[in-house]
């Protein structure tokens, strides 16, 4: 007897599947196809497939390598310090103290503030003529003349990284705080009985217990930060020169500055491939550790 197929589940998920195909699959496939095309909106009559030309151009483009190095610096220092300070903040917020609820809420402010607004706010703070940071440094006698933070090719990228760190600390703090609250108190009590010092408890109990959260949040943040453009774009526009240009900003400027969507897609695909390598590395470690548990 022929088995009757129940279509109801398929119909129920159909809207979501169609939606995902339209907003995720179609643009992704289109980007891959565009990366093999001469796709410049200022020259629509020259549009067509050009094989690997865009990829070869990228590998011979000095700005691609500079952007790649900047991206690595941006991600490593940006995410690294976000994690470090977020972890410290989470440990503090996990303790009992007066006004903890208020501090926990207030700590979220940078995370819920739009990136462009953060960029504008910090641009004014860094301003080389009227910025509050220069004013404070001058008042405490650390500098004699104002520093043009965002106009200095050596200082621009570190400055935008500091802004990024400020923005991302709450994300790590809240996620790690949630994980910390799941660590059984008995483990710490047993450690206290054994006379373990604080750093042993941190490295032998706390960190191993929240390892999965650390892996997932770091992976997510690496992907988000590598793809983010709002802060850099609103603060330096990738400059001065190309000193704060990351791959995602470079791709954005190619697409919406010169309307060269073909080359911009190539840069985006290369960034995606790099992120996939990182993601696979992280996921392998994450799943391995989950299996072990």
């Amino acid at each position: 007897m022929k088995k009757k197929i129940n279509f109801a589940p398929y119909l129920l998920i159909a809207p979501a599947v169609v939606f995902m195909l339209l907003v995720v699959a179609y643009p992704a496939i289109n980007s891959i196809l565009m990366s093999f095309q001469n796709y410049n909106l200022t020259k629509p009559q020259q549009r067509g497939f050009i094989g690997l030309t865009n990829y070869i151009t990228a590998f011979h483009d000095p700005l691609f390598y500079q952007s790649l190095i900047n991206t690595l610096i941006w991600v490593i220092f940006g995410v690294g310090f976000q994690f470090l300070f977020g972890f410290i903040l989470a440990l503090i917020l996990n303790r009992d103290f007066r006004g903890r609820g208020f501090i926990r809420s207030a700590a979220l402010i940078p995370w819920v503030t739009p990136g462009v607004l953060i960029g504008l706010m910090w641009t004014w703070m860094y301003d080389g003529n009227y910025g509050v940071i220069n004013d404070l440094l001058h008042k405490v006698g650390l500098i004699n003349t104002f520093i043009p933070f965002l106009s200095d090719a050596n200082a621009a990228l570190p400055c935008v990284i500091i802004t990024l760190v400020w923005q991302g600390i709450p994300f790590f703090a809240i996620m790690i705080l949630a994980a910390l609250q799941g660590v059984p108190g008995e483990l710490y009590e047993a450690a206290d009985v054994d006379g373990c010092p604080a750093h042993t408890k941190l490295f032998k109990i706390t960190i191993p217990s929240i390892k999965n959260t650390i892996f997932v949040t770091t992976l997510l943040r690496i992907i988000w930060v590598a793809n983010s453009i709002d802060i850099i774009f609103s603060m330096t526009n990738g400059g001065p020169g190309f000193s704060s240009m990351t791959l995602s900003v470079y791709a954005f400027k190619k697409a919406y500055g010169t309307l060269d969507f073909g080359y911009a897609s190539t840069l985006s695909i290369l960034l995606t491939l790099l992120l996939m390598i990182v993601a696979v590395f992280y996921l392998r470690n994450f799943f391995k550790s989950a299996d072990e548990q």
């Binding site: 200022t42 003529n129 003349t145 043009p148 106009s151 400059g239 020169g241 309307l259």
Partner: protein, 424 residues
């Protein structure tokens, strides 16, 4: 329960499909909106430097409608920084407005794709043609390789704004007439005046800075292109002019923020008394006079040993070839270049009138900034109109010059790169 789930699923799926279909059908409806009708609605895209200017433009559009009751103009504004890209993208996608504000340097990239209507025929029968400043027709023909694709709207000539009280304080009795004197005065003004640390010159290192830089290189004999239009930027003279530009920054005669300073930063620095001079056009004069009262004046960009040049800024209006109402659209852009519209717009914005009848009005004739602009007319020029120019101006000049200013590359390297990028 199972039946209910099935019914919900069918409903959701049907709703989804209906939604997608609705999206498709609405697209068709909008593209079919150009069906012949007695009354015509034109869409005009523009940018405004100040949101309040849109009110004046709406009044002009309303007046046009009164004079031509069957034509209504719908205005749509976009930020100037994105305007060229938004317009190009819309046209490449088969959309776009009937008419739009425009820059001469964009012309080749639009004409090579046949996006613009040749206005020569309609202009030949237009009564306002003779009133337009003759030099503007020359520039527009130059941009269109002999044809006129653009209708004049506003124009500006760059000159030097300065603070007279600072000149007096450092003992400068008259405005400089040679480039050497200009540089010397910049250095003289870099001092403490009334207890304030002043820099002599506001240098624009971000987008738009190519215009004052152009005056520097040409003062030293550099040229963008030869008579045949061939780019000849890479020359010892251009390097010399570029070096003089960079030296002002490196010597501390400009604010330390110069590599990333744009127009708004320069205006703020000037209004706060932080800089003594900067180069820009009449478009800033209304707000600058409001901020500085009588302690602001202007002089023409001085002549160097190699020549004298200042950039001519421009805004035109074009009719897009995708417009289904090209006759009405031509009528509208012609109206914008006639006395009433020009007078209304330039009175609000402070731009230079494109028609002589308005330029002769006392409000313009007696304006000191109009006078300096008119005095600079004879040596005002535009950047070479090449398919690469728009991108060079918007995306290439600033990062290259910023690298030179911050010492990452030399002036010679910068000039070499600028030359190569302009050649394309």
């Amino acid at each position: 329960m199972k039946k209910l789930a099935k019914a919900v699923a069918i409903f959701l799926a049907a709703a989804m499909i209906a939604g997608v279909s609705a999206g498709c059908s609405s697209n068709k409806a909008s593209s079919g909106a150009s069906a012949p009708a007695k009354n015509i609605t034109l869409t005009h895209w523009l940018w405004v430097d100040d949101p309040s200017y849109l009110k004046t433009m709406q009044t002009i559009a309303d007046d046009f409608h009164k004079a031509n009751p069957t034509i209504t103009v719908k205005l749509q504004t976009y930020a100037y920084a994105d305007f060229n890209n938004v317009l190009t993208t819309a046209l490449a996608g088969g959309g776009g407005p009937d008419t739009a504000s425009f820059k001469l340097t964009w012309t080749p990239s639009y004409t090579q794709n046949n996006y613009l209507v040749d206005l020569d025929n309609s202009i030949s029968g237009w009564s306002g043609k003779a009133d337009v400043v003759p030099m503007l027709w020359d520039k527009m023909k130059e941009a269109g390789s002999g044809k006129v694709y653009t209708m004049p709207w506003t124009w500006q000539v760059l000159y030097v704004y300065y603070r007279p009280s600072y000149f007096k304080a450092v003992g400068i009795n008259s405005v400089p007439t040679t480039f050497d004197d200009f540089i010397a005065d910049i250095k003289k003004c870099t001092t403490t005046i009334n207890g304030k640390a002043v820099k002599g010159f506001g240098l624009r290192g971000s987008a738009g800075g190519q215009e004052p830089w152009g005056s520097f290189i040409q003062a030293f004999g550099g040229k963008f292109a030869d008579a045949s239009g061939k780019v000849i930027l890479d020359s010892p003279e251009t390097v010399k002019g570029t070096q003089a530009f960079i030296d002002l920054y490196k010597g501390g005669y400009t604010p330390a923020t110069a590599p990333s300073d744009g127009l708004s930063q320069l205006e703020t620095e000037f209004n706060n008394g932080q800089i003594a001079m900067f180069i820009h056009h009449i478009g800033s004069s209304v707000t600058m006079v409001k901020a500085n009262g009588t302690d602001i004046s202007a002089f023409a960009v001085p002549k160097g040993t190699g020549g004298q040049w200042t950039s001519m800024g421009d805004t035109e209006n074009v009719v897009l070839s995708a417009s289904k109402n090209q006759d009405a659209a031509s009528k509208w852009v012609e109206y914008l270049a006639e006395k009433d519209a020009v007078s209304a717009w330039d009175t609000t914005t402070g731009n230079l009138p494109v028609v002589n009848s308005v330029a002769e009005e006392p409000a313009f004739k007696d304006n000191q900034f109009v006078k300096v602009s008119m005095d600079s007319q004879s040596y005002a020029g535009i950047f070479p109109i090449l398919p690469t120019t728009a991108n060079w101006v918007s995306n290439e000049w600033a990062p290259i010059m910023q690298q030179a200013l911050t010492g990452k590359i030399t002036a010679a390297d910068a000039v070499k790169q600028l030359d190569a990028k302009l050649k394309g």
